[in-house]
Subunit: 673 residues, 2 copies
């Protein structure tokens, strides 16, 4: 599934000059310019919560309040109890920022969600489309009187977000006010509570490094740091989960639990809901002692007090990763010489490189995942022509196929099952209102993934069961060329994805096509499906052997069709003629592409060669697993769909020169004979 950044949204708006909605307005959307305003049945009446929030705002003496869409761990997916934006606005999209003043309210969200916002919001809310912080700040400057304060919950702001607002407001005589008690929570009466489920530890068979080894390893990095940090604060949920080899179920699709960790050179403080830790887990964590390898359990809500307390100790210095530490924790680490920052904590950068066990089990999970996806594609091939499949039933079916695989733990995100024009919305998920029947006349895009105890998967295939147009074939082939060009490229260790991702776009650019999302993101062992800091975006770190990333170029034709081809690949060392320390990608998603959509004449000989080798790998690895699971029909389907392509000629221009050569040879022979 493509990850989406606001920066990218801006870039796209700039590229296409298209700042207007992608989908025509229908009567399913509100119309606030009518008197009285027209509201569809999907719109939520937000008058009451706005009124109550403004009471709170007046009490705090602020003229505006900013409501982001994240949680205190700056998570991409959030638990229902953190869906404050949705509670306030009615809008349930995954990205957005709301601002409430004493007499206005506005929501900023990117082009993916404009239609949805117009369907879900009432006329209390303006919809703003430029999602940059500078745009929010400009709006604030126009709405908030000079000298007034703008409130925000520092737990929901990253350092960078706070800094960006600050920079944009600083010359305007409006200032930010950090308010640690969330004002939305105060008016949200039936806010869901933290789920009571017990936390779990990973079984030994999926672990190479024990938590004690990980702790020692991270402490070594702390000791090696020239600034000599005494403590490391972990805020992202996957940091604590990784360090202790533990998982939970607090966040949809993400096996995480609410937690922070403060790791010092001789103590370990784990902040969580202690009542959820079983006796067995307490033993596992050495929770009854206070030594260097004993985990002291502290209440989740006590982090701020404990941290404040810790920084009063003489000589301490707390290391934080700025990308995932919220401003509330950051602002108590004072004075400055108690603080050490890097973009990512050493836990995130260490976690990014998988150890041998992690690499192997993640590859294994992808083999089983391929079986599920192949079952699904085969089922579609049968079912769609009968007219019995819809986007929703297809999404259910792929989940079902995965659930039958060993160690399955459910989907890793809401399946994107999109037919025809719906696929042109890169992040579409089907709903009852939008659900389309799948037919042989439309292209179909399915982007889905599974959580397994040993790994997280994420794969996209685009298929056509009838006769694709020439343009669809060309676009699909050029997307595939992008995927192959990245996959087969050789690069020095440490090269950053952002400096290579244009290879995924180049074949499209050549004919004036492009796509509006990132080209790939990290993936890991039973974690979130977008695992930072690996990937192709500008704030991702350089590639090292042992990292896993998705590679997912695409093309989307408005109101017509969408194409995306996504595979997960592991970064592996490669032998070169002259140099050492070079890397390439080895694709671990093992599902064939729709042959009907490939225009062979566009592929270079190198691309063709890559494709055939990839298909060989599918035959060998997935073939064995299909045998193993006794899936004979699926095996036949797989073999049919991975028949090698003939490797002659390379591209249109070359083919023609080859033809010239043949003609020449023929002519010569005629003369000779």
């Amino acid at each position: 599934m493509p990850s989406f950044s606001w920066l990218l949204a801006l870039y796209l708006a700039a590229l296409t000059g298209n700042t207007d909605g992608a989908v025509a307005r229908e009567s399913t959307e509100r119309n606030c310019s009518l008197t009285p305003p027209y509201l569809p049945s999907t719109a939520v009446n937000t008058s009451l919560q706005l009124e109550e929030l403004r009471v709170q705002m007046r009490a705090m003496n602020i003229s505006a309040y900013i409501i982001p869409a994240t949680d205190a761990h700056l998570s991409e997916y959030i638990a229902p109890r953190d869906a404050r934006l949705a509670f306030m606005t009615g809008f349930t999209g995954s990205a957005g920022t709301a601002v409430v003043t004493l007499n206005k309210a506005a929501l900023w969200t990117d082009s993916r969600y404009w239609v949805q916002a117009e369907r879900q919001m009432d006329c209390n809310w303006e919809l703003e489309k430029d999602v940059s912080i500078s745009s929010v700040a400009e709006w604030l400057i126009s709405e908030v009187p000079k000298g007034d304060e703008i409130g925000f919950d520092p737990f929901l702001f990253s350092l960078k977000t706070q800094g960006d607002y600050n920079i944009n407001l600083e010359s305007s005589d409006r200032s930010l006010k950090s308010i640690t008690e969330n004002l939305v929570d105060k008016v949200w009466k039936d806010r869901p509570s933290v789920p009571p489920d017990s936390l779990t530890r990973l079984p030994d068979r999926v672990i190479q490094r024990t938590w004690q080894e990980k702790v020692e390893h991270i402490r070594t990095q702390m000791g090696d740091n020239p600034y000599k940090p005494t403590g490391l604060l972990l805020s992202a949920l996957d940091e604590t989960a990784w360090l202790f080899n533990m998982r939970g179920n607090d966040i949809p699709y993400n096996p995480f639990f609410y937690s922070y960790t403060l790791l010092t050179m001789d103590e370990i403080w784990l902040f969580l809901h202690v009542e959820r830790v079983t006796e067995e887990l307490k033993v596992y964590l050495n929770a009854s002692c206070e030594g260097a390898l004993c985990v002291q359990l502290k209440g989740y809500d006590t982090i701020l007090d404990h941290l404040k307390n810790y920084v009063t100790r003489p000589g301490v210095k707390v290391w934080i990763g700025t990308e995932y530490t919220n401003y509330a924790l950051y602002e108590v680490i004072t004075p400055q010489d108690k603080l050490l920052t890097s973009s990512y904590s050493p836990v995130l950068t260490t976690k990014a490189v998988k150890d041998e066990t992690e690499q192997q089990i993640l590859r294994d999970a992808h083999v089983r995942d391929a079986v599920a996806v192949i079952q699904f594609l085969m089922w579609l091939e049968k079912t769609v022509p009968e007219g019995n499949a819809t986007e929703l039933t297809a999404a259910e079916y792929v989940d079902k196929c995965r659930s039958k695989q060993k160690d399955s733990r459910g989907p890793s995100f809401a399946t994107i099952s999109a037919s025809g024009p719906n696929a042109a919305l890169a992040h579409y998920s089907p709903t009852k209102e939008t659900n389309r029947r799948l037919t042989v006349d439309e292209m179909y895009l399915v982007d889905s993934g599974g959580q397994y105890l040993d790994g997280t998967t994420d794969i996209t295939r685009t298929v056509h069961w009838g006769k694709p147009t020439e343009m669809q074939k060309e676009a699909f082939t050029r997307v595939l060329m992008g995927n192959i060009e990245i996959s087969r490229t050789i690069f020095p260790s440490g090269t950053r994805g952002v400096n290579m991702e244009m290879l995924g776009r180049r074949a499209l650019w050549e004919v004036g096509l492009n796509y509006g999302h990132g080209t790939g993101h990290g993936v890991g062992n039973y974690f979130g499906v977008h695992e930072w800091p690996v990937g192709f975006q500008s704030n991702n770190i350089g590639f090292r052997a042992g990292m896993f990333t998705s590679i997912e170029p695409g093309y989307y034709k408005e109101n017509d069709f969408g194409i995306r081809i996504e595979d997960v690949a592991v970064v592996v060392p490669v032998q070169t003629k002259y140099g050492n320390n070079y890397l390439t990608f080895d694709t671990v998603s093992l599902v064939p592409y729709d042959r009907k959509l490939i225009d062979m004449s566009l592929l270079s000989s190198e691309q063709l060669h890559w494709l055939n080798k990839y298909y060989e790998t599918i035959r060998s690895l997935v073939g064995a697993e299909l045998d193993n699971q006794g899936l004979r029909e699926e095996k036949d389907w797989m073999l049919r769909n991975t028949e090698p392509f003939a490797e002659i000629g390379s591209s249109a221009s070359v083919s023609s020169s080859s033809l010239t050569l043949i003609a020449l040879a023929v002519a010569m022979l005629h003369n000779i004979v």
Copy 2:
């Protein structure tokens, strides 16, 4: 000529793991571990200036003083009077930072200059090789006692430099102290004065926009800015030179003059050495009035006072570009709401896109420049086998060839004329000590450029007059493939160079080769040869039609040879099959490559096609100019060297498949006949 960033130096050190000197130590270098230390005759005794500087430091109560290599305009090239680093250290390289404490002194410079530093410095100085600011800061923390202050001249620090030092020192209890009177200048008795030469204006024939039009255009951008700046401060020397269509001779190779501009909505203040402005120029500038289009001339040294004064006016807001504004000017713009920042001023971003006249005359300058370089290459071809050419005589000769061309204004930088192993140092310029005779046994790299009244040029060719090795041919061809891949690529308007520059490296990476400098930089109309903010580095802006950039991949084999192929290209719109607003490059440097060094079997059919089209352009444009100048022999040489290559087959693998096809065809014919 490749531009070099410190970041890149770090990247390279990380890549190669090579943090040691590239050239073996000889007795031409100092040896401070001997007693007494060994100093070569090239070493400079710096004891006296160090002693005197420390007196100044004690008077200011600072424990360390930082000496950068730039001037108050953060120029890349500096005038002799700004060579403070060289005066203090003896080291004359173009990049470095010196730090003096009360009992130690250290110089940081990158790998290009390690040998030179060991030759020029005495044993008062440590040589430090990790040129990151964090490394300087770590050294400062180890040498400066807690609580002490570290002095710096805020005129010689960019905001970013000051900020980087601050971040690295902030948690250490050592602080920076801004001292506006430069301490080196106080002890530098024979510091050169500002040259008395009069300033000049450009003739009308090379100008499309008068300075009045430019001022109006920039004021429009100020008016359109949502933060409503009232004044724009221009600090980089090319900003003022561009705005007023004026030039000077204060900086070697750069036609600039010491100046600042404060442009407000209704006034223009030009800060310069007023005595250098002729009466004619005063008329040209409307210097006798005070209206919106009158230029008020102010003394160069009064900028700080005038700026301080301006910011006391109510309601003013000063716009600065942070990349080129020094910290001294920045720190007087207080409080924060008087300040508006962007990375580059609107003058630099406007200047980056050439108007039609500028594009045409810059193309024209490159045609004449090609004539000079062709004359030079032809002369080498004759002279080298006779054994009469050296790196130095060759460098002189190419300057001479350029000086004969119309509107020549001298070289745009010191020619890099490098034979054999000398060319492996990417920034080598020949000196008496290092001068090599050119022979048919060594490769030769020449990177040179000219200043012309209508344009600045910069071109590199690598040649071999004997028999190159297979490895040399392969490396040259792969460098050429990199150059072609960038040149022929099609991309959306606004794409950033840093996201495409790997195309220049990819063919090299494939066999484990790489290069350690940037891939290109902006070039303009009679300005500095590295014209920011255009190019392929991470702080360059996105490409737009009308920008000019060099494209210059290379490969360097230590102690053996060096290859670089550099051309200047203009960004032009291109028609694509489906999309609008796509761009590509049109190469304006028009000199053929050494055919002997090209391994045709490596080129794809697309690359070959590009090469033939490029050679057609040379034949047409340079052919006409050679005719025009009556250079018959040069024309023949050019035609010989631009013979079209046969366009059959595309790459080794394709050729072999073509052969298979022929064999097949032949076999079939035999059966038929």
